[in-house]
Amino acid sequence: MINQREILETLNMIDNQHLDIRTITMGISLRSCAHPDAKICAQRMYDKITKYAENLVKTGEDLEREMGIPIINKRISVTPIAIAAEACETEDYSIFARAMDDAAKACGVNFIGGFSALVQKGFTIGDRRLIASIPEALATTDFVCSSVNVGSTKAGINMDAVKLMGETIKRAAYITRDRDGFGCAKLVVFCNAVEDNPFMAGAFHGVGEPECAINVGVSGPGVVYNALKEVKGEPFHVVSETIKKTAFKITRMGQLMASEASKRLGAEFGIVDLSLAPTPAVGDSVARILEEMGIEVCGTHGTTAALALLNDAVKKGGVMASSSVGGLSGAFIPVSEDEGMIAAAEKGVLTLDKLEAMTCVCSVGLDMIAVPGDTSAETISAIIADEAAIGMINNKTTAVRIIPAPGKSVGDSIEMGGLLGTAPVMPVHGEGSVDFIHRGGRIPAPLNSLRN
């Protein structure tokens, strides 16, 4: 039998250190739902999602009970709607968002992702219609998440799309202004988006994916934080080893849950996403891990190095624990969802510029950041362009999920509720980037040799 110490260690992780499975996400292909009539197409989408995901929530709850490990979210991702709905003769794609929302409610999941378009090299008719429908779709649904991929290492950056997304984010904030621009919390702009991401708001079921797959995201910043408390003052190779061992244990839980869930749901086992995903709960923060390494406040000098070590060690530990690793796999730094990040931003130590530097060494990007409501569309586009450039050059996924909080300015904060947390409004540079953004066109794909 497993020894008592090991049993108690596992229970302690669950009870006191927030070890949980962050999400079980079912990816469903909607490519078979195409029909010229939008109403029929939307109905087909609803029918297919509710058929495939009918038992998703129940299976998740059964597993929680049997294994004794909480599964925080059960979610669905679908084929990018710009592809699935492209055959439809309609301008307004929000009908599909409503079908997704209804299906999510019928299945009992708390988010559904895939109101998405992939436009890194250019727009199709469907892509343009989808992007035009995003603000309305986010405002009129509860659970639908949207994402747009505007760049990739192979294609470069579509600067027309970057400009358009700045405007789209402003519009989404405006029409959800009664809820502090909540629509923007469900909208991600990517570079090098991954096709098997289980995490929201950026999840979609990519075109190379099977009919139906189960992707699992693990969590566990609290477990890593507590493990590091045991090696106070030790050199970095000890820190790295400790994180690796901890990440291995956390990921094994994800692997077990993913294989059980896919077996029971008759879906393919997709991937385990090795991410440290924080929550606003005290003791479940990535920022506090960095501070435990010796950084006084997250965002000060040394933060990027600490994060680089953390991110790399999590991957090294996790990759052996799972038969199939994918998704975003890295430490997340969503400001509003991380108690330590919120505190650091409120102190003014963690700034947008430092966050941008941090995104060079971790997944994913500028995430859940509130900026003043009067920030211009061009400035938001320029922030997206910077982030996309980091992703493009470094062969990694980067993203921007930013909320220009209507009527708010630096010093205020916005309340998103639940796992989305509280976002202090952070300052942006006042100098404009208007002429830069209005050039349009494409930033060419980068050279992949002579790397310096």
Partner: protein, 90 residues
């Protein structure tokens, strides 16, 4: 199918008897027990059990153990053995 039962709480007479009786009622077979009392009064027990011949579903076993835990004033939980194997064995 095996599961691990963990019992933690203030030591008193009858904890072992209560848990074993509950398991007998639902026809769960005990394979191994490791038990100790920490710091003179914290009762800690891990039990490996076989639930494949249980006469009720998994949910009912959980409920029966929860009820017994409440009666005894200790925490009793049951989890599939795979959870611990996954985390601690390569």
């Amino acid at each position: 199918m095996n599961a691990i039962i963990t019992v933690v709480g203030k030591d008193k007479v009858g904890i072992m008897a209560g848990v074993c009786n509950t398991l007998q009622t639902v026809n769960v077979n005990i394979l191994d027990i490791s038990q100790t009392v920490l710091h003179n009064n914290i009762f800690t027990m891990n039990m490996l059990v076989d639930i494949s011949c249980a006469n009720v579903g998994y949910d009912k076993i959980v409920d029966a153990l929860n009820d017994e835990g409440e009666r005894l004033g200790v925490s009793i939980r049951i989890q599939r053995e795979e959870v611990f194997d996954a985390m601690h064995k390569i």
